[in-house]
Symmetry: C2
C-alpha cells in the first residue's frame, strides 16, 4: 500500500490551481483524494466538477463547508438552512459523504454563547435527516477558540461531541483538525470518545506557527514547521478506530504564491516524513 | 461604598503614564488600587515606587509578572528561577500579595505540551515556599489558547487549577482574566471550583474584539466594546466567594495614544456601566 493511500489534498492548500489543474496534478502525483470547497466547485459547475474528479480517479473526501447556523433572526436563519441544504445536495452530487460545518460565531451584539450553541443544535436537528436521506453526514468542526466570536462558537472537540451525540453517529460526526485542537490537554480523551462513538468524520492536518497574521486566518504552518505533534495525532485517531482519509488543509499565502506541483510534492513529502 | 471600591487599574492600560502620573491620576480619580508591571517599576526604582504608591494611598493589587518556567536547558531554567525570586522580592517590597505568572510556551523545537506543563509544576514547587516566606502568593494565569505555543502552555482555568491544587491555596492561586477564558464552556464550573478551593488570586477584565491584530497581543477591547459578558463573570467570581480587587487590564494602542486622565475616566465609567 502506498504511503499516500489515505492522503487527501484539501483544495485550499493549493488554491492557485483550477479544478482541472487540481484533478490532473493529484492524478499525476498518485494522490487518491481531495477535499473540495463550495465556491470553486460552484463556479466550475457541480455536476461538471463531480465528473472531472471521478474521471481522474479521485475520491472527494469532504466538502467545505456548511454551517453558520447561529443567527437569531428567523429570516437569516431560514436563508442559512436553505444554504446548508444546497451544500448537502452539492456534497451528494460530488459523491462525498462528509459535509464539514463551521458552526458560526456570535450574532452582532450578542454575548450569549450557550444560546448560540443551542441554535446550532436546533439547526442540526433540521438538517441531519435531510442530509442522511442523501447519504451525507454532517461533520461539526471545532475551531480554535480565537475564532469563537466571529466564526465558530464550537471551540473544543468536547463541545463538538456534546452536539453530535444528540444525533445518531451516521448522521452527525466531528472533524479533528490539528490546527484547531492541538493545544487542548483533554484532546486525547476526546479523540478516544469520538472514536468509540463512531463520530470521527474527518481528520485534517495543519501545523501551528507564530506570529499569527492580522485576522488570524491565513497563518497555518506547513507540516513540520510548527509545534504540533502531527504523528501523535494520527496515532491517536488510528487507535480510536478511524481509518479514513487524512486531509492536509493549509491556508498560507506563501504556498499560494508558488508552483502548485512543487507545493504538492512538498506537502506529500512532509506528510510521509511527519505524519506516517 | 463607592462604585470603585474594588476597582484596580492595571498600569499597562494607560502605559503612557509615568509612575508619578499614575499615582497622581489614580488618587485624583478615587481609584483605590493599581496593578503594576516589573519593567516600569524597576526603571523607577522598586523602593521608590513602593513609597510613591503608598503615599498616594493606593493598594498594589498585583505585580505582573513572573513565569516563563518551561525551559528544558538547566542554565536557562536557573536564570528563570532567579528572575522569579527577584519578582517575588519586588512584589513583597511593593506590598502586594499577588505575583501573576505567565507560565511560558514551548521551548524552541519542542512539541511536548505535557512535559512543559510538568516543568511548570516543578518550578512552582521551588518558588512557592520562597514566595510564601515573603507573603506573596503565586497566581497562575491561564492565557488564551492562541498563546499556547509561544507564551503560555496553560490555556484553561481547569489546567491552571490542576497545577495550583498541587500546592496549598495560600501559596498558589489562579488568575481569572475574562479576555483569556471567555470562550470556554466549562468556565462557570471552573470558577466555582476555584472559589471553593480559595484559589482566585486575581480577577482581570478586558473585552474580546475582532479582527485580531498581527501577533495578537495588542487587540484587547475596551469594556463593553466586545462580546464578553463582563457582568456575568463578575457575578460568577462573586458567587464563588471572591471579594478582592477587580483589575482592568487592556492592551490597546488606541488607549495609549490618548490623554491618560481621559482614558481613566472612560475606563471607570465603563466599569460601572458594564461590570457592577
Amino acid at each position: 500500500m502506498s504511503g499516500l493511500a489515505r492522503f487527501s489534498l484539501n483544495q485550499e492548500t493549493i488554491k492557485q490551481w483550477s479544478l482541472p489543474e487540481l484533478a490532473r496534478g493529484c492524478e499525476g502525483a498518485g494522490v487518491p483524494g481531495v477535499g473540495l470547497w463550495r465556491t470553486p466547485v460552484q463556479e466550475y459547475g457541480v455536476e461538471r466538477a463531480a465528473r472531472l474528479v471521478r474521471d481522474a480517479g479521485l475520491a472527494v473526501t469532504s466538502l467545505c463547508r456548511g454551517g453558520f447556523l447561529t443567527a437569531i433572526d428567523p429570516a437569516t436563519r431560514a436563508v442559512a438552512l436553505d444554504d446548508n441544504r444546497a451544500a448537502v445536495d452539492e456534497a451528494a452530487t460530488l459523491g462525498t459523504d462528509t459535509l464539514v460545518l463551521v458552526s458560526g460565531g456570535l450574532p452582532d451584539g450578542s454575548r450569549d454563547l450557550p444560546g448560540a450553541r443551542e441554535r446550532i443544535a436546533d439547526a442540526l436537528g433540521e438538517l441531519a435527516p435531510y442530509a442522511a436521506e442523501r447519504g451525507v453526514r454532517l461533520a461539526i468542526e471545532p475551531l480554535h477558540p480565537m475564532y469563537a466570536s466571529d466564526r465558530c462558537v464550537v471551540s473544543t472537540l468536547a463541545q463538538a461531541l456534546d452536539l453530535a451525540e444528540r444525533f445518531p453517529p451516521d448522521r452527525v460526526g466531528v472533524v479533528v483538525d490539528t490546527y484547531h485542537v492541538w493545544w487542548d490537554d483533554t484532546v486525547a480523551a476526546q479523540i478516544e470518545r469520538a472514536g468509540r462513538g463512531g463520530r470521527i468524520a474527518a481528520f485534517q492536518l495543519a501545523d501551528w506557527i507564530t506570529p499569527l497574521p492580522e485576522g488570524v486566518l491565513l497563518g497555518r504552518g506547513r507540516l513540520g514547521d510548527g509545534c504540533v505533534d502531527l504523528r501523535w495525532f494520527r496515532e491517536r485517531v488510528d487507535a480510536a478506530g478511524y481509518d479514513g482519509p487524512v486531509e492536509v488543509e493549509i491556508f498560507n499565502p506563501g504556498l499560494w504564491a508558488r508552483d502548485g506541483a512543487e507545493v504538492l510534492a512538498e506537502v506529500t513529502g512532509r506528510y510521509c516524513l511527519h505524519v506516517l
